[in-house]
Amino acid sequence: MGAWRWLRRRWDVLFRKRGVEAELDEEIRTHLDEEIRQNVQAGMSPAEARRRALVAFGGVERHKEEVRNVRGVRVLDDLVQDVRVSFRSFLKAPAFLVAVLLTLGLGIGANVAMFGILDASLFRPLPYPRADRLVMGRVTWNGRVGRTVSGPDFFDYRQQSSSFEDLAAYTPFVLRATVTGGGAPERVRYIYASTRFFRALGVEPVLGRGFAPDEGELGGPRVLILSYGFWQRRFGGDRDILGRSVTIAGIPFTVVGVMPRDFRFAVDVDIWVPLQRGGAWAQARQFHNFILVGRLADGVSVKQAQADVDRISESLAETYPETNRNKGLNLTPLKEALAQPYKATLGVLVAAVAVLLLIACGNVAGLLLARGSARRSELAVRSVMGAGRSRLARQLLTENVLLALGAGVVGIALATWLQRGILAFVSMDRLTPVKAGVSLPMLGFALALSVLTVVIFGALPSLRVARVEPGADLQSGTRTTGGRAATRARNVLVTGQVALTVVLLVVSGLLLRTLRELRGVDLGFDPDHLLTAAVQIPSTKYPTSASRVEFFRELQERVAALPGVEGVGFITRLPVRGSGGNVRVDLPEHFGTAGVFGKMADQRTVMPGYFHAMGIPLVAGRDVSLVDDSAATPVVVISKALAESLFPGEDALGRTVGVDVGEAEPARFEVVGVVGDVVMDHPANGPYPAMYFPYPQAAGTGLDIAVRYSGNAGAATTSVRGVLRTLNTDVPLDEPATMHDVLGRSLSGQQAIAVVVSLFGVVALLLAAIGMYGVLAFQVSRRTHEIGIRMALGASGGAVVSSVVRGGLILVALGLAVGIPASLFAARLVGGLLFGVGATDPVTYVGVALFLGAVATVACMLPAYRAARTDPVVAFRTE
C-alpha cells in the first residue's frame, strides 16, 4: 500500500503538477485571506491588513518551495523547471549560445578525435588472436636496442630457445619486383617472411596453406602467398589460383595460399616469399635484415623469454666472436614496439588538444562571467522573490551542463572531420590503419569530457554569480557589471589563456623551424629539376651482366638525347628514395683485428654519369666507367668523408680498401675517385659515408634512374616512359616522382606534426585574442563614466586608447611571464622531435612573444577606440 501511495504521489507530482501546484496556491491564498480578514476585524485598514498578513507569512515562493522539498520530489521538479528556464535564457542570447557551442565544441571535438585515434590504434589489442602473447625481437648492440637481426642469428634463436610457441622473422622493408605473364607487367610489393610467420601471428590463410618447412631451406621449392587484395586485383579472386605459377622478376613461383582480407602486419604488401635458411638476405651473420616476431609459450613471461634469449646471445658471442661480440636480442611486447615510433608525435598532439580544450574552457568561463554580470539583476530579483542561493547556483549549473552537453554534440559532429585532418598527417598504419568515424567509446568520451568541462569552466562563474546581494545589485540599476572580483577572475582567465597559447605557439614554432632546418639541409646533391623513378628488368630476358649493362647504357643514351634533359644517372638506390646497404669497410689489413664494426659505409652501384646528373662534385680521380667490368681490376669511388676517415691526411687515390662481403676475407677494391658527401636516407641523419661500385662489375636487375630535366616534370616523366617502352614493353617506369616529392614524403612526419600543432596554436591564439577582447570591452563599458570624466577634463583620445591598450598588454605580459617558463619545460619534452634548433631557441621565443603582442594589440585596439570615442555627455547620461 505504501508503495502504491508513493507511486501515486510521484505520478501526481510529475504529471499532475499543475493540479497539485494549484491546490497549494489556493490553500495559501485562503490562509492569507483569513489572516487579512482577522486583521481588518482588529481595526486595520485593508491595505495595512494585507501587508501585515504577507509579512507574517513570509516569502510565498519560499514556502511553496519548502512544500515541494518536503514532498521529496524537489530535485526532479527543479530540474524540469531549470531546463525550461535555461532554454528560455539561451534563446534570449543566441550569440552567446553560438559562441559557447562553437568554442567548446571545437575543444571537445579535437579531443574526441584524438581519443578516437588512440582508441582505435593504441587502446585496442592488435588484430591477432591472443595478441598480448606476441613480442617483437630486435638486435641490441652493447645493450642498446637497434633494429634488424641477422638471418643466421634468427635461425639459432629459433632452434635453441624454448620460450616460444613460434618465433618468426620478416624483412621490415618492402621489396619491389615486376610480375609478368597473364596481363600487363605490374610492380608488386613483397617481403620475406619465415615459414611460421603467419602461425606465430595466429592467422591462417583463407585459401590454401602456409609455408611448409622445406620451403624455408635453401634450394627448397619456390612458393609464395598472395594478399587478398592482390589476389582479387590481379586474379579476380580465382579460387583455382592454388598451384598456379606466377612469374616474378622472371622467376616462376607457385602460389600456395591466399591470406584473409583483413590480414595485415606493419606494412601493406602483395606477396610473401619464404625466407630460406642461408638464402637471400640471410647469407651471413653480419647482414642484418630481419625483425623477429614471437609468440610466447604458455606460462612464459617476457622477462623469462628475455633471460632465455640472453643466454643464447652469450653462447653465440662465444662461438662467433667476430660477428656476435656485444650483440644481443631485445624482446618487447609487440604492440609496445609497434607503437614506439608514434609515441612522441601522439604525446605532443594529445597535449596540444588538451591545452586547446583548456583555453576553450577559459573562454567560455569568461563569457559566463560576463553574462553572469549582466544577469545579476535578474538573479537578484529571483533571490528577493525567495529563491535560495543553492537554488540559484543549481539553476546556473543546469545551464552549464546543458551548454556542455550541447558542445559535446557539436564536438562529435566536428570530430570525424578533425580526425580525417589529423589522420591525413599522422597515419597510424604501422599499428592498425585507423579510419575516421565516430565510435561508441568516442561518444562516451565526449560525454565524460562535457561533464569535465562543466567543472572547469562552470564552477567559478556559478559560484560567483550565486553570491548575489540583492540590495547592492538592485540598487546599482541597469549599469551593473559585477564587482571587482569578477574582473579579477576574468583577468586571471585571460592570463592563463595567454600562457597556454604561448606554450602551443612556442612548440609549433620550434617544430616549424625544425621543418625549415630539415628542408634547408645541404643534401650534397641538387634536388631541383630532378626526376626519379625505378627500372626493373626481368632476369630471364637479361640473363647476363653484359646484356643488362647494354640495356641501361642504351636507355641512358636515349633519355639523354631527349630535349631538355641535362643528365641521366643510374644507381641501385637513390638518396632519400631508398636506404640500407650499410657494410663494413676498412683497410684490408685491419680486418680481423679492429672488431666487426670499425668503419661503416653505404654501398651503391652506379652507372657512369650518375654524379654529373645528381650534381655531386667529383673531388679527385675519375668517375666509374663501362670498362670497369668484372674482367677488369675491381674499383670503387668513395665519398670524401670515407676517404678522410680511412686515409686521414693522405691521398686516397690508388689505395686499396676492403669490404665485408660475409666471407672470411674482405673483397678488395682500388679507389679511383673521391666524390662529395651526400645525405643517403633522411635529411635529419645528415651526410653519410658512401662507396660507389661500377655497375658492370655487379650488374643486378634493378636500378633507380635520376633525370635532370628542364621544364615540366609531368612532361619529362611521359617522355622518359615513352623511351623505356621503345626499349622493352615489359619494363615499366616505377614510382616516378620528383626529388622534391620524395623529400617531402620523407619529411611528411615532421611536416605533419608541425602543421597540426601550428593549426592548434593558431586556434588557441584566436581564442585567447577573443578572450582578451572580451575582457577589455567589458572593462571599457564599466569605465564609460570614468572615461567620460577624464575626457571632459581634457584627456585626449590617444591617452584613452593607450590607457586601455596598456591594460590589455599587462595581461599579455603576465601571460608571457607564466607561459615562457612553461614553454621551456614543454619544449624539453618534445626535444626528440626537434632538429637543428634547440629547445631554448631564442628566435622562436622572441618571435612568439612579438607575434602574440601584435595580435593582442589588435585585440585591444577595438575596445580602446570605442573608449576614445566616448562622448562625455552620453557617458554621464548613462548614469
Binding site: R5, R9, E23, L24, E26, E27, I28, T30, H31, D33, E34, E35, A56, F57, G58, R62, H63, E66, V67, N69, V70, R71
Partner: protein
C-alpha cells in the same frame, strides 16, 4: 507576552492533536495552536504547510474540500485512523520525554 518557537518535531504532534478535536483548515490549525497554548506557541507558517503535506503523504491525515462560513471553498484536514494511532504513540513518547526533562530541571 513571552512567545516561543516550536520545538523541532513537536509540530507534527500538535497538528495531530488539534485535528483530533475537530477537522480544520490550515489557517485555523495555526490559530487553534496559538489559542490553546495561550499565545505562547506561534506556528511558523512556513513550516505548517510542509508539515501538513508531509503528514498527508504519510497517511496520518487526509484532506477534503468543504465550504467555509463565508461560503468559500477551503481545504479541511482531518485525522485518519492511522493518524489517531500515531497521535497516541507520539503523545506517550512526548510525555515521557517532557517528564524526563522536567525531572532533571527539578533536581536541585
Amino acid at each position: 507576552m513571552a512567545r516561543t518557537d516550536l520545538l523541532q518535531g513537536s509540530l507534527d504532534l500538535l497538528v495531530l492533536k488539534t485535528l483530533d478535536l475537530e477537522p480544520l483548515h490550515g489557517w485555523a490549525i495555526s490559530k487553534r495552536i496559538q489559542l490553546l497554548s495561550h499565545d505562547v506557541l506561534e506556528v511558523n507558517q512556513g513550516s505548517l504547510y510542509p508539515a501538513l503535506y508531509r503528514l498527508r503523504d504519510r497517511g496520518l491525515i487526509e484532506s477534503e474540500y468543504a465550504e467555509s462560513e463565508e461560503g468559500r471553498r477551503v481545504k479541511v484536514y482531518s485525522l485518519t485512523k492511522k493518524g489517531r494511532a500515531a497521535l497516541k504513540r507520539e503523545q506517550a513518547s512526548w510525555r515521557l520525554f517532557a517528564g524526563a526533562v522536567e525531572a532533571i530541571l527539578a533536581a536541585g
